[in-house]
């Protein structure tokens, strides 16, 4: 008997990344912009999608994949707005992975503009998993505190955009929007920062305009 060294150099996320790449290629070829939404639980991802749909839907088609540990609640809320939605129940897993999205793939209508994937509420684990998205948005709600970007860096360093949500709650809170923006830009200077309130609708037109711009860019249409 002898011990043999085996050089491997294989990525632990290799199978996830391969599936994610295939999903991205197929959706991009159909001209669909896919957005992965990350945040801690209760930051307002579902409410943002409900409010954002009023901004984009008059002219654009959207669908939503909801990820939660249990229940169909979020998908039901989205469907109540007349938007196609699928619920993935992870049964305990703290994040979505590309395989879960791949399983749903045959059900996704080909004639969409935006596909939103609302990840499991968790500011840590989902950041490690590519789902085949074109854009990653991280939400930080004002009650969570303005010091979070540096405490949970990966969610912010892997995102393209930061949405500071629930800005209508700021007056009584010790939340400094400029500090949150600075903290986030400090670790990822390329982040696009948006400030929104799904209640007052503040900032939603700007966020919608950004997504529409990215959709045009994906389609190579700069008109």
């Amino acid at each position: 008997m002898k011990t043999k060294e085996v050089m491997v150099l294989k990525d632990l996320l290799g199978s996830n990344n391969k599936i994610a790449g295939e999903i991205r290629d197929k959706l991009t070829a159909r001209g669909i912009l896919t957005i992965n939404l990350l945040s801690s639980p209760g930051a307002g991802k579902t409410t943002l999608l409900e409010a954002l749909s009023d901004e984009v839907r008059p002219r654009y088609r959207m669908a939503v994949i909801e990820g939660d540990i249990e229940t169909e609640r979020d998908a039901d809320r989205i469907r109540a707005k007349g938007i196609p939605a699928w619920q993935i129940q992870t049964g305990g897993a703290c994040h979505l992975d590309a395989r879960m999205i791949g399983r749903l793939f045959p059900e996704i209508p080909p004639d969409l503009d935006f596909l939103f994937i609302e990840n499991v509420g968790n500011l840590v684990c989902p950041a490690g998993f590519d789902l085949g998205e074109n854009l990653r948005l991280v939400l930080l709600s004002t009650p969570e505190g303005d010091d979070k970007p540096k405490k949970y860096p990966k969610a912010f360093t892997t995102s393209n955009g930061l949405v500071i949500s629930k800005t209508d709650l700021v007056p009584p809170l010790p939340f400094d929007i400029d500090r949150a923006r600075r903290e986030a830009l400090d670790i990822n200077p390329r982040l696009k920062v948006f400030t929104t309130s799904s209640q007052t609708k503040a900032g939603l037109p700007e966020l919608a305009a950004y997504l529409i711009e990215e959709l045009k860019r994906l389609r190579g249409d700069h008109a």
């Binding site: 060294e5 632990l12 840590v124 490690g128 540096k150 670790i187 200077p189």
Partner: protein, 115 residues
């Protein structure tokens, strides 16, 4: 705590490898874990110890090599290693950088016992 699912991927690779080499046992496993990989070395070790029971790797040691973040500046050309997460050139401060190392989560090497 997504480290358990990462370790479950690792064991799929190890089992495949042991089958290929007709190995009876896996004696050690070496991983490269980047500072920006999102995985915590300590938790990977715990997950590995839980997972290995009753497998070919039951007696295996897990070695983890932590990889610092290295960025290449597209503005001034400097390549710098850093121990923080800040995506900015250490030398000129430009945000126009490319990450060259620090995101890896790689099975580098393993030892198999061949009978």
């Amino acid at each position: 705590m997504h480290e358990l699912s990462l370790i479950s991927n690792l064991f799929e690779m190890l089992e495949e490898q042991a089958r290929d080499k007709k190995a009876g046992k896996i004696t050690y496993v070496k991983l490269q874990v980047g500072l920006l990989s999102g995985a915590v070395a300590e938790l990977l070790k715990t997950a590995f110890d839980i997972y290995k029971k009753g497998t070919l790797a039951e007696g295996a040691e897990l070695e983890i090599v932590e990889v610092p973040l290295t960025v290449l500046c597209l503005e001034c050309g400097a390549e710098t290693s850093k121990d923080d997460y800040i995506l900015r050139c250490e030398s000129c401060g430009s945000p126009d950088i490319k990450t060259v190392a620090g995101t890896e989560l790689i099975l580098e090497e393993s030892g198999v016992l061949i009978e």
